[in-house]
Symmetry: C2
Subunit: 375 residues, 2 copies
């Protein structure tokens, strides 16, 4: 089930907190005084819950290091929906000076048959890494690695494989047995990604994820418990709304804006986006629009408009009918995206120059120049 659907389903239930509690997940609210409200993701509820993140914050307050980890299955579809996650990581890294581990999970793409061979995502792995680091990451304290060619990860996965039965994974993921063995074993590889900052660098870990990914956190915590390794903690994120009104998904291109989209495509997608507007300009000027269902408003609030005053002006202008979707808000978001894209591309050049410094293993930079027009 999609993350937004899942959250909406859960939020509809009156026993929301009880459900979270069952899984050991708490609302983030109580932690905000400690974390602070300077970051919009925390302030505006994009990060809405956590499991044991208080332990990490307590640790940070004693100047003890920790690690934040998020994987990326290399693919050509990196879009603005993914950026919330990585900008959140950048914020946490800057605030707490923690290490960021970025497994580029080419093995995941392979076992789930998104690609025919493991090697064919090598270039994409480097490209995705460049895009992520161009969000403002410095090479210091970053550990990027391509999973399949990192022997230590495969070794840890093998090591953890004795701590999980097929039946446990089957129950957690709803397998039929007709899946290939690689997808079953991938749970162990993912546990290796999550736990290796702890096993190898003695750093407790926080993993920011969507609520739908929590099953993998639970599987990993199960292994950690059996191995007497400090259990990973987690943060739960709400992602951007899909522009079509349906959940954002790479396989529904009109629902999201890819980093590789050209200006024309971006304009079309945004101009076609679902809003809370009225049928006519006149009607909207008279009655105002509904920001609660508006995807443009959602993108402003969760990502593009960092300033609270600006945000409340947008909210008021929308409600009062002073802002017209197609005349004001959509052109404004288009400009913001194009501007972001331009700055992002500039920062990429700087990242590429130092890309080797971000990686824990040697990389072949020359692939970035081959048959390639994205840089």
């Amino acid at each position: 089930m999609n993350i937004e659907d899942e959250i909406q389903n859960i939020e509809k239930r009156t026993d929301y907190d009880r459900i979270l509690e069952e899984f050991g997940i708490s609302r983030i609210d109580k932690l905000l005084p400690k974390i602070g409200r300077e970051n919009i993701f925390f302030r505006r509820g994009v990060v809405f819950a956590h499991r044991d993140f208080n332990k990490i914050v307590d640790r940070a307050e004693q100047n003890k290091k920790f690690a934040i980890i998020s994987g990326r299955g290399p693919s050509s579809d990196l879009h603005y929906g993914h950026f919330i996650l990585f900008e959140l990581i950048r914020f946490i890294q800057e605030k707490y000076n923690c290490d960021f581990f970025l497994p580029l999970s080419d093995d995941e793409k392979y076992v789930f048959r998104k690609v025919d061979s493991i090697g064919e995502t090598y270039k994409l792995s480097l490209e995705n890494a460049v895009d992520i680091f161009a969000l403002g990451f410095k090479p210091d304290n970053v550990h990027a690695y391509i999973s399949s060619i990192t022997p230590r990860i495969q070794y840890l996965a093998l090591s953890f494989s004795v701590n999980q039965t097929y039946n446990a994974i089957k129950a957690a993921l709803g397998l039929t047995g007709e899946e290939n063995v690689g997808t079953v074993f991938y749970s162990c590889i993912q546990a290796a990604h999550i736990l290796h900052p702890t096993t190898d660098h003695n750093l407790p870990v926080v993993v920011p994820v969507g609520l739908d990914q929590d099953v993998f956190i639970r599987l990993t915590r199960d292994i950690a418990r059996k191995r007497k390794i400090t259990s990973p903690t987690s943060l739960y994120i709400r992602f951007l709304k899909g522009l079509t009104g349906k959940p954002m998904s790479s396989s529904a291109p009109e629902s999201c804006v890819f980093l590789s989209d050209d200006e024309k495509t971006i304009k079309r997608k945004i101009m076609n986006a679902l809003t809370g507007g009225r049928s006519t300009v006149k009607e909207q000027q008279k009655l105002g629009a509904n920001s609660d269902v508006c995807t443009i408003y959602d993108w402003f609030e969760k990502y593009f408009v960092k300033d609270d005053k600006e945000m409340s002006e947008i909210r008021k202008g929308c409600k009062d009918g002073e802002l017209i979707c197609g005349l004001d808000c959509k052109p404004r978001l288009i400009e913001m995206i194009l501007n972001h894209q331009k700055q992002h591309n500039n920062r990429k050049k700087e990242v590429i120059k130092n890309l080797e410094k971000y990686f824990d293993h040697e990389i072949d930079l020359s692939v970035l120049n081959r048959e390639d027009d994205s840089f």
Copy 2:
């Protein structure tokens, strides 16, 4: 089911050849004119069947290279029963100048919970390798490696993992789902052991095994077919009879003679061994004994007595009552084993000097000297 039981069960059936044929296995007889009868394993039916080994022989006749591969799960229980396999490999290697790949499958010992951690069999891996190579292997054309620390093997296993479903492995091995995931994934590691001479060195492969191991060959052939890799061929071996009359097994120490057994232990085990002898010497001298059920005779025939004339004299002497089990044959075998052991220990010293040359990766020889009295 134990190999000897399985063979005996199959041999009892009148449709023996049809069963073998169903699995694509042929008796070795027709191939003997090509292979020759100079080796006792072929001449005396220790190697009794094969799958597609004719293809390897044809290739060898054209001076094309191939690989022979047999794994060894490192443990302290290497015994004379294991030596048939490795001496057969040595013979084939000498005759055909093929490459011998020896994966030391520490990962197997680990996932099947014979040891608590992967690393703890490192020293045993080297020790087992020394014992195997001391059978007369030269470092040339030998590729030994410790499986878990050979990234290429773990990478190939991951690669092959998409070509087998859990259900297929479940059906082949009779799994319940309560096994740990490592044991399921191990099929893919084993396929990597078997196929990597073909994928990485372009050498077709022959695997000598007991008939009970054929299921793993079939699983690997299934992967090879899907990947369009040349399928592994196989040779089927009868192992030594257990001294107790029951199948030989490391977990029944009196059934076998370990390389580490001292003289006193060897004498006890052999003197207690099951023979086809009569209740009294007098009776035996009068009626003769039954070599068909005699474990001592079996050891002579399959391994220790290479000379056919000597063997037929033993057979005759046994039948005619001229040889008395406890007075003639058992002391003779004890002497042979002690002599073999002595020579073997001498050859080990030479092997240790050159051990690094046998391995495809760096090894830490210093572990062989730590808290160690076996060398």
